[in-house]
């Protein structure tokens, strides 16, 4: 079997584009349904009677369709949701090639640095920053100093190089040029020219008075990034140090210097440093160079892919549950159809009595079931798509991680396989309908 595959199928298969492969798989999955449909209905015209049956049992049918729809939606939604989350979180981390932080949990640091879920972090000192910033393979090293907030929006101290890296050009306004200016993320509910005073800390524990007297004015707004940074307020890292009474990190003779280089002696510290290498291949060397007892360097992308594999495992477990649900629902619906067919048995007996072939009865009952299955599955795809959109919308609103929902091949493969399987199973009530005694059913 595997030999046959490698000898005869693989060479052709590999010639197809991924989309064509997926399309071919879809056809393969739906093929049993089409074949059964063709064989069962060929030469018969059961539609009027199927319609009669659909109408006669419309409320039960509606319940069956909804049950199927919900179980299909569960499977479809799970796949689409997981992919959306995976892609959304990956997109949000895209710009963070290499991060250096104090030794500790990479995950905690990713959450704090990339996704701006604040937590207290030990600081890296000026000497380390200096070594990183002046490394020959480093294009730029941007301090990322989080900890303050304004009305729930994290206030992050950094450099204009980082803003440039994150947003490219600004959507409106200008970069900050003094310690009292700020650039806001695309979704921050402030306008250019607005003034604010950050609070120390985040959320309910934030101390609104701690930084009294230090006021910022908004001078620019970044482009949308689809990441939590859309909700962040970016200020000069020097300003963050200053409002905490730590000096500006430059020489005493430079009271208003902005951005690197900093003075290693007066550098107050930063919880994270984003490192951008001159060349992609240098990243590994940089990671090794700055992983030691004083600091850790890590790829957020790698941390994320570990998270994604957990997410994938969760999805797999839930997929099994979704499949079990689908099987249970299918079994329930088919049992229901057997009962409905019993209610219809007098009409079916009549058809037998006036000479209709068995295949005609078979095609009526099967088509009836197939219509319910197809309607339920189609509705399920829509329902799955809609719920995924709603959930993603909520996730996006809460985290600012842009979770896009699109339906893709795996969902359609799932639905096609489900339809094919259940449509084959739908032959069971059809067979049972044929086994009923004609005369007894005729007498009612």
């Amino acid at each position: 079997m595997t030999d046959f595959y490698y000898d005869y199928i693989a060479p052709w298969w590999d010639l197809l584009s991924p989309d064509m492969q997926d399309g071919a798989l879809l056809i393969l999955y739906i093929l049993p349904c089409l074949i059964v449909g063709f064989v069962v209905v060929r030469g018969m015209r059961p539609y009027a009677l199927v319609k009669a049956m659909l109408w006669q049992f419309r409320w039960s049918n509606l319940v069956f369709v909804l049950l199927i729809a919900v179980s299909v939606a569960l499977g479809v939604g799970l796949i689409a949701q997981e992919r959306g989350l995976r892609k959304g979180t990956a997109r949000a981390a895209e710009k963070f090639d290499l991060v250096v932080a104090a030794p500790g949990s990479e995950l905690t640091n990713v959450l704090a640095t990339v996704y701006l879920q604040a937590s207290d972090m030990p600081l890296l000192d000026g000497a380390l920053y200096h070594r990183i910033a002046t490394h020959e393979q480093v294009d730029f090293a941007a301090p990322i100093a989080f900890g303050d907030s304004f009305k729930g929006a994290p206030v992050v101290g950094t450099t204009i190089t980082f803003i440039d890296h994150l947003s490219g050009s600004l959507k409106e306004g200008a970069l900050f040029g003094t310690y009292s200016e700020a650039v806001i993320g695309a979704n921050v509910p402030l306008s250019l020219g607005d003034r604010f005073t950050p609070a120390h800390g985040h959320g309910d524990g934030a101390d609104a008075e701690a930084h009294e007297g230090s006021e910022f004015v908004v001078t620019g707004r970044m482009e949308k990034t689809g990441s939590p940074w859309d909700q962040a307020i970016l200020v000069p890292v020097e300003a963050v140090w200053m409002v905490h009474g730590l000096g500006n990190g430059h020489g005493l003779d430079e009271p208003s210097a902005l951005g690197p280089p900093f003075d290693p002696a007066t550098f107050p510290g930063t919880p994270s440093i984003l490192v951008h290498a001159k060349q992609l291949w240098a990243n590994y060397a940089l990671k090794n160079a700055f992983t030691n007892k004083d600091s850790m360097a890590y790829f957020p992308g790698a941390v994320l892919s570990q998270l994604h594999s957990v997410l994938g495992n969760v999805r797999e477990v839930m997929s099994v549950m979704a499949v079990v649900t689908q099987i249970l629902v299918t079994a329930g619906v088919l049992t229901g159809l057997v009962i409905l067919t019993k209610l219809f048995s007098r009409r079916l007996a009549l058809l037998r009595a006036i000479g209709a072939p068995r295949r005609f009865l078979f095609s009526i009952v099967w088509s009836f079931a197939a219509v319910l299955i197809l309607a339920g599955s189609a509705l399920g795809v829509l329902l799955g798509f809609a719920t995924t959109r709603v959930i993603s919308g909520i996730v996006s609103a809460r985290t600012n991680i842009l979770v896009e929902v699109i339906l893709s091949w795996p969902e359609f493969h799932l639905v096609a396989a489900f339809v094919s399987l259940t449509v084959c199973l739908a032959m069971i009530p059809a067979f049972l309908a044929l086994r009923r005694p004609v005369v007894a059913d005729l007498r009612g």
């Binding site: 030469g43 018969m44 015209r45 059961p46 009027a48 009677l49 319609k51 009669a52 109408w55 006669q56 007098r346 009409r347 009549l350 058809l351 037998r352 009595a353 006036i354 000479g355 209709a356 072939p357 068995r358 295949r359 005609f360 004609v438 005369v439 005729l442 007498r443 009612g444």
Partner: protein, 228 residues
């Protein structure tokens, strides 16, 4: 053109647990003959019709229509025989409430070969018109009266142009006037096309119009009377 002669020999129909429902020693019905079947309730009249149609469980004996010996044929072959040669009318119509008159009368378009659809539809329509059924396609059977339903049921039995009509109480639920009209129409249609009609009924108006009357009592065919 109708050449199906019925010949029943030593027939024994059994029901559940082997109970004998009907015995007929001998019965011959010539093509084009009209025969009434009468007898008390529960005597076995419907059972007789089911046996003649190849639907009942024949334990012994023969039911032969022309060359077709039903008791030796498989179920599917008997169904084929019915759809080519037998039209059946049931006591309580057994129509599809959700369909209109023509769709009911031409129900066989669902399973007969496409080449026969046009003729079938035309016969269904013309029979419905002959039987004075209005609103052939405008409303569903659900809104039809008992008399109208009975006519649609008869049109369905005739639509595929069978040689034999087997009717079970075709006038049972009708008032006298409507019943008489229906008997007139049915007999006229059957005689005009030289079809064999075998009709179970309690209605002596119907029996008066038949060539022959068969009496069934207590699961036995006990005799027959010939009308002049």
């Amino acid at each position: 053109m109708n050449s199906l002669e019925l010949s029943v020999q030593d027939l024994l129909v059994s029901g559940e647990r082997g109970r004998t429902l009907l015995t007929v020693e001998q019965l011959v019905v010539h093509p084009g003959e009209t025969v009434g079947i009468r007898g008390p309730s529960g005597a076995g009249k419907s059972t007789m019709l089911y046996a003649l149609a190849g639907l009942a469980n024949v334990a012994q004996g023969q039911v032969r229509w022309g060359d077709a010996e039903l008791s030796t044929m498989g179920e599917e072959a008997r169904a084929r025989f019915r759809r080519s040669s037998v039209g059946m009318v049931f006591q309580d119509f057994l129509l599809f409430e959700e369909l209109d008159a023509v769709s009911n009368a031409a129900i066989a378009t669902g399973y007969l070969h496409g080449s026969r659809h046009a003729a079938l539809l035309e016969r269904a329509q013309s029979t419905l018109q002959k039987l004075n059924v209005k609103d052939l396609t405008q409303r569903t059977i659900a809104s039809f009266s008992g008399g109208e339903r009975q006519r649609v049921a008869i049109a369905r039995a005739l639509a595929h142009d069978p040689a034999v009509i087997l009717a079970d109480e075709p006038t049972a639920s009708l008032d006298r006037k409507v019943a008489d009209q229906l008997i007139d129409d049915l007999v006229a249609l059957v005689r005009q096309e030289k079809k064999t009609l075998i009709a179970v009924s309690h209605d002596h108006h119907l029996h008066e119009r038949m060539d022959r009357i068969i009496d069934i009592e207590d699961g036995r065919m006990v005799g027959e009377v010939r009308n002049d």
